[in-house]
């Protein structure tokens, strides 16, 4: 039993690391570091020297650094795939009758296999922006499922966790609303990113610092909604902390985590606008969003299951 939760938790952490690695591939421009898929320059292990290139591949395509960045991301994805597969097997072994654990675990395993194949489509499409966005969306879905099953397994092992807790009315509604706004916000974020890529195509010699100003309306909506969400996060979070009695440590800590992440995310967004898209901040902007969604999801499940009805 405990081993399932441990594997689900490790898989969750690993998914977050792979999401980070994926962001790193994108901003370092290594997405086509291996021009083929699933192999890299026709090999299972990327070439370390230009002389190892197969004769049908143009040597000017070869950049050893970019090839290895892309390869490490693929490798991390494969390792993650195995972790999730083990989690799914453990779910079948221990929680065959607990549908709320079994089904999401199996779904995560199917999705991670799909994600591997879809990663190949990303390369195939030469990084078409909507296909890259789907890749990110599926990653968010996988991490959500893993968080859900980890939490459910925890409640299964510690059924008294929320016994003494009494949360204010409509907590799950407000958290659900934040979740919905966040999903809209993430879609807008991918639109901003696509807009940036279009501008790169349209004005190929323009320095990156002046791109954001050209994206236009969607980036303003993204900024506005970001501020709305962070204010909402603090409103909802502090209301629940104030009005609930005997809240579990998990819920309290996750609320603090959610508020911190919301604030950090808006600050990163501000840095992106003011300083003009420093690479490292782009990765964290995406990554903190995925952590924030995770926090919201934990709270939503907790309030749905243990909050006062409506």
């Amino acid at each position: 039993m405990k081993i399932f939760r441990q594997f689900a938790f490790i898989s969750t952490i690993a998914t977050y690391i792979v999401i980070f690695a994926g962001g790193l591939v994108r901003v370092s421009g290594a997405g086509l570091g291996c021009p083929d898929w699933p192999k890299c320059f026709g090999r299972w292990f990327p070439p370390t020297n230009i002389s190892q290139l197969p004769p049908n591949i143009d040597p000017s395509l070869f950049n050893i650094t970019l090839a290895w960045i892309e390869y490490v991301n693929r490798l991390a994805g494969v390792i993650l795939g195995f972790l999730i597969l083990i989690t799914a097997f453990l779910a079948i072994k221990y929680y065959r009758k607990e549908m709320r654990i079994l089904i999401p675990s199996l779904l995560a395993a199917i999705l991670v296999a799909f994600q591997g194949w879809q990663g190949g489509q990303v390369v195939e499409s030469e990084l078409a922006s909507h296909i890259v966005s789907i890749h990110m969306g599926v990653a968010f879905l996988i991490v959500s499922l893993l968080i859900y099953v980890t939490q459910q397994a925890y409640y299964y092992e510690y059924p008294d966790e929320e016994k003494k807790s009494d949360y204010p009315n409509k907590s799950s509604f407000w958290i659900g609303l934040l979740w919905l706004l966040t999903i809209v916000q993430i879609v807008l974020g991918t639109e901003v990113r696509s807009g940036l890529e279009l501008i790169e195509k349209e004005f190929p010699l323009l320095p990156e610092t002046s791109w954001l100003g050209k994206v236009g309306l969607v980036s303003h909506i993204h900024t506005f909604l970001g501020i709305v969400i962070v204010i909402g996060t603090f409103q909802v979070g502090s209301r629940i902390l104030r009005l609930s009695k005997g809240a579990s440590d998990m819920v309290k800590q996750v609320i603090w985590g959610m508020m911190t992440l919301g604030l950090v995310q808006v600050l990163i967004g501000a840095v992106l606008v003011v300083i003009g898209l420093p690479d490292i901040m782009e990765i964290f902007h995406l990554w903190v969003a995925s952590l924030y969604v995770g926090a919201i999801l934990v709270l939503f499940s907790a309030f749905r299951q243990y909050g006062r009805a409506k």
Binding site: G29, D58, L61, L205, Q253, I280
Partner: protein, 204 residues
């Protein structure tokens, strides 16, 4: 008390791991940048003196100060030239907002490709400004420029001309050869153009 302690521990752990992630990310991004920044100098073009469609002379000095993409063509060629022209046309459209990039197509068949023929060919490619030039020269000097300058074989002109695109920087130095028939190779060309353009901007 122990609860507070474990919360504190979790915060420290998170902060440390995020810091480590950031360090790794910065290192990787830097390595990626460096790997692209190394665009070697492969050679230097000698002086030459050709003629553009409108009869104005065109030489090395007209290439300086711009990033140039050069190729060798002839207008009646049925082999790879139409594809090369399409790819050049895509570059012509791509860089329409800047005059920092100049495209140069050098005819290897001066007998047939008179200036009016080149002019008509250019119009067929949709060229309406001076960002893409079409050059005519004497056969001997074309051969010399191709072999000694661009270091591309020119044994059997016009039939056997190279299909490479050559990137020449603002100082007339050769910075790269790209397969004019391959999208993947031309993507690298675009990345190199961007890199060189940003480098020269930093120096200004």
């Amino acid at each position: 008390m122990s609860q507070d302690n474990s919360f504190f521990k979790a915060v420290v752990w998170t902060a440390t791991s995020i810091f480590l992630l950031a360090v790794v990310a910065l290192f990787v991004i830097n390595r990626a940048k460096e790997s692209r920044a190394e665009i070697p100098v492969l050679g230097k073009l000698p002086n030459f003196r050709f003629v553009e469609r409108d009869g104005r002379p065109f030489g090395l000095s007209d290439m300086k100060g711009k990033l140039n993409v050069a190729d060798f063509i002839f207008t009646s060629c049925r082999g790879p030239c139409p594809v090369m022209a399409t790819k050049m046309g895509e570059l012509y459209d791509l860089y329409k907002t800047t005059d920092k990039v100049q495209l140069i197509s050098i005819s290897v068949d001066p007998e047939c490709d008179s200036l009016p023929v080149l002019q008509e060919y250019a119009l067929r490619q949709g060229v309406n400004d001076n960002r893409w030039v079409f050059l005519r020269g004497e056969m001997d000097s074309i051969k010399t420029l191709s072999e000694k300058g661009f270091m591309l074989a020119a044994d059997d002109l016009p039939g056997n001309h190279s299909t490479k695109f050559v990137l020449v920087d603002q100082k007339g130095k050769i910075r790269g050869y790209y397969d004019g028939l391959s999208d993947a190779s031309i993507n690298i060309l675009k990345a190199d153009i961007r890199q060189l353009a940003l480098e020269s901007e930093e120096k200004e």
